[in-house]
């Protein structure tokens, strides 16, 4: 059954305009439709009500008693609906909820988000560190930032970058074994996040046969920022992205004993539901972050080693 069979909403909207303008043609102009369509809708409503609503007099129409009685409520109702829509639409541009991988949140967004907020002062950002992959059907997120190899189906996916990584550790820890000069030296130290494929990738890149890291189970964090914290605390050597720890390297809190950086097929992606591609706040953030990460990479990313 047609929804408008019960209460003809569109007809009521037309009615409201006609009653205000005292004329079909004028109402039609406001509503952006033809006079004919207005006539049709009014007749429809009159049939529903069972009562004439307007007396058609030359030059203008006159509201009947019934129309006058209905008008205040109808006007008020459409004001409410309008308000609800407007405020919702505004709210939708006001708060941006980002569910980000903890590492990216702590080591990149935390440092760079300020510039986005300066560019878009009207958008309030709510930033959540999430480890579980965001399901837009369950979480009220606008945007998710996640690690992964490739685009996910049914989502708009934008690759922010595949970042260089290399082993890093605290200078103090390096001293305990008299400094680190060869990749094999690392094996004398606790390996943080030993289960990560990047360790194998890195050793392969520097020409060391795949070492057995199965003994290094002590600090097997999944999240890179935890690995980073452990490394900073001198608990071992971790394989970290340069871009996320560039400040720690610059300040000397961490060192990367080998200038041998490499990448793999895991990248950081920005994803959001396809349908919301053009929502202003989403579009604004997407364009900003893609540009900002690219420019950060260009500035700080080390050259990958020659194969």
């Amino acid at each position: 059954m047609k929804l408008s069979r019960k209460v003809p909403l569109n007809a009521l909207r037309v009615f409201e305009a006609v009653a205000r303008h005292r004329g079909f043609s004028r109402a039609a102009e406001e509503l952006g439709m033809t006079q004919t369509a207005v006539s049709y809708q009014i007749k429809l409503l009159e049939d529903h009500v069972g009562e004439q609503l307007f007396l058609r007099q030359p030059r203008q129409i006159v509201n009947t008693e019934t129309a006058e009685r209905m008008l205040p409520d109808v006007t008020r109702a459409f004001e409410l609906l309008n308000d609800a829509m407007v405020s919702a639409r505004q709210a939708s541009n006001e708060t941006l909820e980002i569910h980000s991988s903890p590492t990216f949140a702590s080591h990149w967004l935390a440092r760079n988000l300020g510039s986005f907020q300066l560019d878009y002062p009207s958008i309030a950002v709510r930033l959540l560190r999430v480890s579980k992959i965001t399901d837009f059907n369950r979480d009220p997120a606008d945007i998710s930032i996640r690690w992964g190899v490739g685009p996910w189906p049914d989502l708009d996916c934008h690759l922010l970058g595949r970042f260089s990584f290399a082993p890093m550790l605290s200078p103090a820890l390096a001293e305990t074994i008299g400094g680190v000069s060869s990749p094999e030296d690392l094996l004398k130290l606790p390996i943080i996040g030993a289960g990560q494929g990047s360790w194998q990738t890195w050793f392969a890149t520097v020409g060391v046969p795949a070492p057995d890291l199965s003994g290094h189970t002590r600090h097997n964090y999944v999240e890179q920022d935890l690995c980073g914290n452990a490394a900073l605390a001198g608990q071992g050597v971790a394989i970290l992205n340069h871009i996320f720890f560039s400040e720690d390297l610059a300040s000397g809190r961490l060192i990367a004993p080998f200038n041998q950086y490499c990448t793999d097929d895991i990248g950081i992606w920005l994803v959001h539901p396809k349908s919301r591609r053009n929502t202003p706040k989403i579009k604004a953030f997407r364009e900003w972050v893609i540009q900002a990460v690219a420019s950060d990479m260009q500035r700080t990313e080390p050259k990958p080693p020659q194969a």
Copy 2:
């Protein structure tokens, strides 16, 4: 405050039901549509708002903040619209505005309307005596009762009856000429409403050659009830419908010296706009009056003379 014609009203109604039921399928059932249609409308609304309104979780949906913010206003708005429709529809059954020929109003409705109101106590009748023919485009009438020969185009027309008429006068006036025994005697008296065709019709019926009534311009009323009043006042002889003056005849205030009644092609009609044929109050009155007039005629109408 102009309401953009892009506000998706039907979607908002669906939204309201979904938010209340916390489920598309349940809302669909209430609205009498399929779950698919609900899904479609919600997506439509979400696109307009630019914001997810419901989180789809297994077994139920959850309103987002945006939805919660919109809900009170939307609910209230639809209450108002509903109220406006209901009260208008009720009002339309509450008051019946009848624009009637003065004669019928005074000499028939005034006597018989009580029985209609007993039958339909919820309908308040507003009865207006109007001489000018009712134009439903200009007057807020529900029903018009008028004299005429035949159906009018574009209107629902119901013939109530073609009534017998004959000359009538007050007994006192008759005495002034020693009683009225032949049709020609009437010409000694002032003729009321001499311009009416019924006089010619009646004289023809009783076999009197069409008399020249052009001298009788004193009481040339158009409305029969005025003619009747003049006749009651003894100002002359009028040609009147039996049905409208049966009580005056019965009480002796008027006499019809000849039992020669006749009719012509002019009748009393009940008319109303075609589109409102089935409006309850109109239907009720129409059926009542047709029946009531018919039964009154059967009871009181004199037999027309043999030609």
